[in-house]
């Protein structure tokens, strides 16, 4: 289980996260929604042990990381058992997309090539896999960044808006692939604005507003929100679409 207890993070005079607690189960899909600028990405970075919260605790299975961390860094972080794909993707520009995927797993035993071939097929990456990142579209890079994370066979996968530049068909393929990861006992934590995905695939929906978790529960909270803030958020989205 990936758990956050009372995480607080902020800059002087500007709190970003306030007493945030949540759980991501292995084999479950947790969807984080909320308006822009409410600290969703910061929460993901904290869960990925890349930001140092001022207080609280993060537990990844048996490993506990009490905040603040000594020297500002977590001791022995469990990467890539816990890994993340960021909105900006962070593909290494001097390597081809194929090399980007294979670099982190090059010391692993056989079977990586087969795993890559399967991902190339699943994400339709055959045409551009040997291009460099700057020769690929944003949507293509999003698929590669996700493939790079999946090749690591993580137990917890944190995803930040990874479908923002994909067309409807690709989104459907990727989200269906992610749903399929439940069977591999991978815990998925995804920030998205795709409420349809949250309704159909999420085991847990977390709504954040103003640096706090305003409401969380099963996907049914999207039909019957208990808080006024979530109700407002859903109304705005419904009006916009």
């Amino acid at each position: 289980m990936l758990e956050a207890h009372n995480l607080t993070f902020g800059y002087p005079g500007k709190p970003v996260l306030q007493n945030v607690s949540l759980r991501v189960k292995p084999g479950g899909v947790t969807v984080l929604i909320g308006p822009s600028g409410t600290g969703k990405t910061t929460l993901l970075r904290c869960l990925a042990l890349l930001e140092a919260p001022q207080s609280g605790e993060i537990a990844i299975d048996d490993q506990k990381f009490s905040c603040p961390w000594p020297d500002g860094r977590p001791l022995d972080p469990p990467w890539p058992k816990l890994t993340a794909v960021f909105q900006q993707l962070f593909l290494w520009p001097h390597l081809t997309l194929r090399e980007n995927i294979l670099l982190p797993v090059r010391r692993r035993s056989a079977g990586m090539q087969e795993a890559l071939d399967a991902l190339i097929e699943a994400f339709d990456m055959g045409e551009f896999i040997d291009h460099y990142p700057n020769e690929a579209s944003l949507g293509q890079r999003q698929r590669v960044a996700l493939a790079r994370a999946l090749m690591l066979e993580p137990r917890y996968l944190l995803l930040d808006e990874i479908t923002s530049a994909l067309d409807v068909e690709q989104i459907a393929k990727i989200l269906s692939y992610l749903k399929g990861l439940r069977g591999k006992q991978i815990g998925i934590f995804i920030i998205t604005h795709l409420l349809g995905f949250a309704r159909h695939a999420a085991d847990q929906v977390v709504f954040m507003a103003g640096g706090e978790i305003a409401e969380q529960g099963g996907p049914d909270i999207l039909k019957n929100p208990q808080t006024e803030r979530l109700h407002q958020f859903l109304s705005v989205i419904a009006a916009a679409s």
């Binding site: 990467w79 816990l82 790079r148």
Partner: protein, 221 residues
């Protein structure tokens, strides 16, 4: 007397001058690259101490003309310390210092400005620091620094001409000496230009090869 005649008649003198120029270059280039890169890496890791020192020295050497430093080390410094040092060593030291701090500052700046997100991506992918440095940081920095470093080294080759002014028998001084004997400035300096073209050609070819092999446009389309 044509350029060819001059080259034939004085080829031994020219070759000796060229040899001194190339020896100077060897010292300047090797010390600049090895010590400069090392210093730049140290400066990036210790920005408050070494970083500031490299920055200050690099600023000093770029602000004060190389010729002034060379003359200062050749005349007043030696008089103050009451020593006589072979001009070749003085020129080597001066130009090496200029090159070391120029390279050091270039490397320090590039390392400091290295996009942290590429390191973050490596960390969450489970790569160790050694892999991150050797497989991600150094290759990107190398590609980024290569064109500037090669231009700087060609500039240092040109700066070896200053050594002639403190009596180092490099190729420019040899040319001047021949000219004072036969007074054929057009032909002699044309011959000198040819020598520099011949020395710079392989460097430029190497630069073009390395650029073609290792650097490419990373901007997004």
């Amino acid at each position: 007397m044509s350029v060819l005649d001059i080259l034939i008649n004085y080829h031994l003198a020219f070759l000796q001058g060229l040899q001194v120029t190339l020896e100077l270059c060897l010292v300047i280039w090797s010390s600049g690259i090895v010590l400069g890169v090392t210093l730049g890496a140290i400066g990036a890791n210790h920005p408050q101490s070494w970083g500031r020192f490299i920055r200050a020295m690099s600023f000093g050497f770029s602000a004060i003309p190389t010729l002034v430093v060379l003359f200062w080390l050749h005349y007043p410094a030696q008089a103050v310390f009451n020593v006589v040092i072979d001009p070749f060593y003085t020129a080597s030291l001066t130009l090496s210092l200029v090159n070391i701090f120029a390279v050091g500052e270039m490397v320090r700046q590039a390392a400091m400005d290295f996009p942290a997100q590429y390191i973050v991506a490596g960390r969450v992918c489970g790569l160790g620091m050694r892999d991150i440095v050797t497989k991600i940081q150094l290759p990107i920095l190398f590609r980024q620094l290569l064109p500037g470093l090669l231009v700087l080294q060609v500039g240092m080759l040109h700066a070896t001409l200053f050594a002639s002014l403190i009596s180092v028998e490099e190729i420019f001084r040899v040319s001047q000496r021949i000219n004072s004997t036969i007074y054929r400035p057009v032909e002699i300096y044309t011959a000198l230009a040819l020598f520099f073209l011949l020395v710079c050609l392989p460097i430029n070819l190497l630069a073009a090869y390395l650029k073609e092999r290792y650097t490419r446009d990373l901007s997004e389309r």
